[in-house]
């Protein structure tokens, strides 16, 4: 082995220099991040109607106001609770149907855009890009445009959420399908199975637990989305919340009931889907 020249550093020095350089880069990154956060916050505060510190102590004013009104009118609460159940059901229905539609369409898109499974391999980039676009379009835009075309109701929200869900689930589904074992597919191909048969009997049983778990997670997300879309006029509990808020004082007991219903529903669904997903992924199959 050739002797190192006296000017070249020893391994220890080399290592220490490397550590120093790494620390310097780390420090620069952290400093940059702090500057970005601080200036970004200042900018956002400057463009906001109210400042951060003058509003901070008022955060609890509105909750306090609505809760105090709700306490004085506590006798109305059960009646409100019952009267809002239909719109809560509508919100849940929008989320469920759009998850179902999105999952089915996403499934097809996933098959068409996964290497090794695609029916037309040349079109994989086309399907991938279209899924990217579907994921990127905000639901609110599609919902508002469809409200203009179809009138106020649950269908625009359903289509809007299903559109986004298709793109989001399609991507996740295709990532899961990329890791399947190809032996069953090859076996089916060797006995002359068609593309549909290969996919249905060779791939779907392998990915079903993962896919169901993703779809459940989407359902949780879609409940929130459907509540928000209701707020801009697509029906459901969000719409009731908007009307109650616009009315202002005198209907705050309704606001409290809607908040409570939303909170409880989201908690219950999150909890149930958490449990179900744990069983799906750890148990390895649908029980």
């Amino acid at each position: 082995m050739a002797m190192t020249s006296p000017s070249s550093p020893t391994p220890t020095e080399d290592y220490l220099a490397l550590v120093r350089r790494k620390r310097l880069y780390g420090a620069i990154l952290v400093a940059l991040f702090v500057v970005l956060m601080a200036s970004g916050f200042n900018l956002a505060e400057g463009r906001n109607a109210g400042g951060f510190f003058e509003g901070l102590h008022r955060i609890f004013d509105f909750p306090a106001e609505i809760f105090s009104e709700a306490f004085t009118n506590w006798r109305n609460m059960p009646a409100h609770l019952v009267s809002f159940l239909p719109s809560l059901l509508e919100t849940l229905n929008i989320a469920a149907v759009s998850t179902l539609i999105g999952a089915v369409l996403g499934m097809f898109l996933a098959f068409l855009s996964t290497r090794g499974l695609a029916k037309w391999p040349a079109l994989i980039p086309v399907f991938r890009r279209s899924m990217d676009i579907m994921r990127a379009v905000p639901e609110i835009v599609i919902a508002l445009v469809l409200i203009f075309l179809l009138g106020v109701g649950p269908v625009p929200a359903m289509i809007a959420i299903a559109f986004h869900t298709t793109g989001a689930l399609g991507k996740l589904f295709s990532e899961a399908a990329e890791n399947v074992d190809f032996k069953p597919v090859e076996g089916l191909a060797s006995v002359g199975g068609s593309w549909l048969q290969r996919v249905w009997f060779g791939v779907v049983p392998q990915v079903a637990p993962n896919w169901s778990s993703y779809a459940l997670l989407r359902f949780e997300i879609n409940i929130r989305a459907s509540a928000i879309l209701g707020f801009v006029g697509a029906g459901g509990i969000g719409y009731d919340l908007k009307t109650a808020l616009q009315w202002g004082m005198g209907k705050y007991d309704q606001v409290v009931v809607i908040f409570a219903l939303l909170f409880i529903t989201i908690m219950i669904v999150d909890h149930m889907s958490d449990r179900a997903r744990e069983r799906l992924v750890k148990g390895g199959q649908i029980a």
Binding site: F33, L36, M37, G40, F41, L43, A44, E45, R47, N48, A49, G50, G51, F52, G55, L56, R58, I59, D61, F62, P63, E90, N93, A96, V97, L100, D132, I133, R135, A136, V137, P138, E139, I140, V141, L144, V145, F148, L149, L150, G151, G153, V155, M158, R224, A225, A227, I228, F231, V232, G238, L241, L245, F259, L262, F263, I266, M267, D270, I286
Partner: protein, 445 residues
Amino acid sequence: MTTLSDPAYTPSVADKVQGAFNRRKWRNIGVPLGVFAYLIYVFFAFDIMGLASKARPENAAILLNDFWSHKVHVTRNNRSGEVLTAYEGERKGEFPEGTGPEWVSYGESTVISLTDGSVVEFVGGKIAELQIPDYGSVRAEIDGRAVVLTLPDNTTPPEWMNVSRNRMSLTQPGWRFSITPSKTEVFRYQAGWELFFFTIDSAFYDRSVGELVALALWEPRVNPDRANIAQMAYDIWTNKMWRHGDVAWAMFETVLMAFLGTMGAGLIALPLSFLAASNFAPARWLRLTCRRFFDLLRGVDGLIWTVILSRAFGPGPMTGALAILLTDTGTFGKTFSEALENIDQKQVEGVQSTGASAVQRMRFGVIPQVLPLILSQLLYYLESNTRSATVIGALVGGGIGLLLTQAIITQKDWEEVCYYMVLVVLTVMLMDTLSGWVRRKFIKG
């Protein structure tokens, strides 16, 4: 020991297998049937049948046309005889009086040539003469409060013409005409977005690309105070029709909301997640309190947070950023603490064996294990929050979401809706690519 040959044992195994198969069979039939029944229920619950009566297909035609084309209005005030030409009939797109595009000639009478070969002439203040190929000439005259029509050969009006006592309008491919006692109007439709770069009052309006390049690179200066290229940038930035400057700001605000919300949530959630992880929590009650706190933040939906926060802080991007921050703190707290619970304890012990303090154990034993996961979570949420920030912006009144909802609610600026949509999609896809690049480059290897 029982064996398969044992007569007391075999049937039960067979039963078990049979039972499992039966359950499987019923599930395979039952689940699709259940979904189908549910869809039928929803079909009626959502009143899909009634949708056909509520739907307005004519709106779809307007929208689709407007997405990619624009119209120029030539309007004569029938009382004063004044003729005005304007893009989309808006004040912002008005030509100075007596001027307009080259297909209109002004003078004693105004002659408008249209794309299908038709010619409309405004004669004086009361008369309009139309030459329509394949049909003939039509003359409409205002008589007091009525419209008097003269059709070729005194035929009855064709179905593309809409005639009543005090109004006549007709639609032809590429243009429309209408006359009432108060005004006479011609709309000419054209492909493309009008005045996208330069408005009529700009010195660069209606110039070819070659001319613009020449002007940008060489003299003469349009505005003696500024170089031409700076003037161009200024004119585009302050375009009154499209408000590119405001739109760019709004888009930036939206990304800013996502950035502040996501990173702020990460900063708050990281220390708290140590308290919520079972292998780091100093006390059980503290761990459970933190857990419940995260659950509360996630369970109180973003919608509720936006309502509460906009009451305290008013509309704007900071309110939106705080709403994202609150919900994501809950999510991050949960995922980070789960990641902390799943770390490999050996690395921590190794660091400890060198006599490291608690802080050093965290820094060199724990953080390197969870950092990749935390960073990729942050990046993933940054990207998905850019899209959510559009929706939240619409609720709290900030960013591109506000512009989008405003443009949709006016129900006529569909080309602007299209423009904003393209911008949002491009931005989200850009964030997607960017975060994917950062993840590949710095996290995986």
